[in-house]
């Protein structure tokens, strides 16, 4: 399994043709207490860069973009009851949705963990 990052602060785990997507620990910390997550319905297809989900803290609502193109095969229902999971475990249990990858070449432009850390340090 390999993990990628975007400059919009999403992480992507790729396992076979399925990509799991969430927001990074850095992102959740910037947002503060997360009170609501709106997730895409199963079967929705996204082009890279489409609005895929919304994450709301008390005073802000932010879009989560699809980091790569694909079809949603599962959304993390646990977030509906417990959106704070994104705060407590952003990069594991706080995942948002799983995509069936449409085009693996889109992964090429993304960052690895070291590059993302460097990117965040530069912000």
């Amino acid at each position: 399994m390999s993990r990628y990052f975007t400059d919009e602060h999403e992480w992507i785990d790729v396992e076979g043709e399925i990509a799991t997507v969430g927001i990074t620990d850095y992102a959740q910390e910037q947002l503060g207490d997360i009170v609501f997550v709106e997730l895409p319905a199963e079967g929705t297809t996204f082009e890279k860069g489409d609005d895929a989900a919304v994450v709301e803290s008390v005073k802000a609502a932010s879009d989560v973009y699809a980091p790569i193109s694909g079809e949603v095969v599962e959304a993390n229902g646990a977030l509906e009851d417990e959106p704070a999971l994104v705060n407590s475990d952003a990069e594991e249990d706080g995942w948002f949705f799983k995509l069936r990858i449409a085009d693996t070449s889109e992964l090429e432009g993304l960052m690895n963990e070291a590059a993302y850390k460097k990117f965040v340090a530069s912000l």
Binding site: F36, E38, S57, V58, K59, A60
Partner: protein, 452 residues
């Protein structure tokens, strides 16, 4: 707010900063032929304050105002007695602000009022949560239809024939831009409501059923079967209340299973005001709160553990979500909400119930008396403070003739539904606590003469 007038020196300074010589230089982009020179034809150039006051006074005297005549007009706007203390309190400087509190932390008093307003509205409508607040009843009704679409992901709304036609009209205007399909028919002069027909019309594309309670003809139906049928088909029930005083006497729509309850709050605390500004009420079940338009006020504790109020759940609003906002109708009608809240507080639960009882009692007296007039039939089996009379001729003429005699006799269905001549003989009569037994007698006598 201080008013700081500009001096000629101020103007010259500003002009020199931007490199203009005269104020007219600021308008050089406007074609010369489009610019006004001289006076406007037909309008006097200027007049003294006294002359203007006299002129306006003379114009105003041409009106027959609500307070001067036996008054039976309702249909969505009601004349109730508003205690003088309401008007006095809303004019305090702390409250009489010009704008919605977008920097809410500095406006704790305003936020507390909105918090209490929400509590009162939620209890009145029988719902879990209410926002603070909407523009008016008709736009709140449309927002409920839009919200039902977002929740159900379906785009067909069934509108009861008993829904106020102006509310239907607002919804039609908005639906032009959203693509919602709205199904609506004009009412029939029938004692029964269209609940059964609505139930039969619900299908898999239906986002919501919108029903007014009491409806435009004053009819009251148990909404429970409709709520059940809608929910069973995956649709929502939207209930619209145009006379909130009624809820002091009859069951709240939320208690009958309505998913979203909206209303016009004008009856409580807000005068007729020639049709506005009014106040939209909006409440729903807790599970739909994330799709609710507008904002909620929440109670919290500050860092020092002290009670405080914040605007919360406003993340879907225009100032945060811009073009992705759930709704751009969060004009708060804050002062009207405050008036509502103060009046409601003065009444209390017991007072509201008494006020409702008084309204209903007088309406029953009026209905009994008017039904005795030859040529008049009472349509309703049941009603709160508003009912429909069926006359032997077009009610529009009757209303006009009675207005000439100094009686504001009700709202004719011909006026409300100009495209439905079949119901033109219907006259909707509203009776509030401001109607006296003498007023009822005056109306009855005049109707008798008119229909003879």
């Amino acid at each position: 707010m201080r008013y700081l007038p500009l001096t000629d020196t101020d103007r010259q300074e500003m002009l020199s900063v931007i490199g203009a010589e005269t104020i007219d230089d600021l308008f050089i982009d406007v074609p010369a032929e489009a610019r006004l020179t001289g006076t406007i034809a037909g309008l006097p150039d200027h007049a003294s304050e006294l002359a203007v006051e006299r002129h306006m006074g003379a114009l105003a005297r041409k009106n027959l105002s609500a307070g001067e005549a036996p008054f039976f007009l309702g249909a969505g706007a009601y004349k109730h007695h508003v205690p003088a203390s309401v008007d006095h309190l809303i004019q305090r400087g702390e409250f009489l602000t010009a704008y919605t509190p977008y920097q809410p932390e500095i406006a704790q008093g305003t936020l507390q009022v909105l918090f209490e307003f929400q509590t009162q509205v939620a209890r009145l409508l029988g719902v879990d949560v209410a926002n603070a607040s909407m523009y008016d009843g008709s736009t709140a009704c449309w927002e409920a239809i839009g919200m039902a679409r977002r929740i159900t992901k379906r785009g067909k709304a069934l509108l009861s024939s008993g829904l106020h036609p102006h509310y239907v009209s607002v919804a039609n205007t908005m639906a032009k831009f959203t693509g919602d399909a709205l199904v609506h028919q004009a009412p029939t002069l029938d004692a029964a409501t269209d609940i059964d027909a609505l139930i039969a019309s619900i299908d898999k594309d239906t986002s919501c059923v919108v029903v007014q309670y009491p409806d435009i003809l004053g009819r009251i139906a148990d909404l429970t079967p409709l709520a059940e049928a809608a929910n069973a088909a995956g649709a929502l029930l939207v209930a619209v209340v145009t006379e909130p005083v009624a809820l002091g006497a009859i069951k709240a729509p939320g208690a009958m299973g309505a998913d979203i309850v909206v209303g016009e709050g004008q009856s409580i605390g807000v005068g007729l005001q020639f049709g506005g500004p009014y106040l939209g009420l909006f409440g729903c079940k807790q599970k739909y709160v994330r799709q609710m338009p507008g904002r909620l006020c929440g109670e919290t504790l500050d860092a020092a553990g002290k009670r405080g109020f914040v605007l919360t759940l406003s993340t879907r609003e225009q100032h945060i979500r811009r073009e992705k906002a759930t709704s751009n109708i969060c004009t708060n009608s804050g002062l009207c909400a405050l008036a509502f809240s103060i009046h409601m507080t003065l009444l209390g639960e017991k007072g509201l119930r008494e006020l409702a009882t008084l309204n209903h009692g007088l309406a029953v007296q009026a209905a009994d008396r008017l039904a005795q007039v030859p040529g008049v039939t009472l349509l309703n089996d049941g009603f709160f403070n508003e009912f429909t009379l069926v006359l032997t001729k077009d009610a529009r003429d009757v209303v006009r003739n009675l207005a000439d005699k100094g009686i504001l006799a009700g709202v004719s269905l011909g006026r409300l539904f100009p495209d439905a001549p079949a119901i033109g003989n219907g006259l909707v009569i509203a009776v509030t606590e401001t109607v006296t037994p003498e007023d009822i007698e005056t109306l009855a006598a005049a109707l008798e003469e008119e229909l003879a």
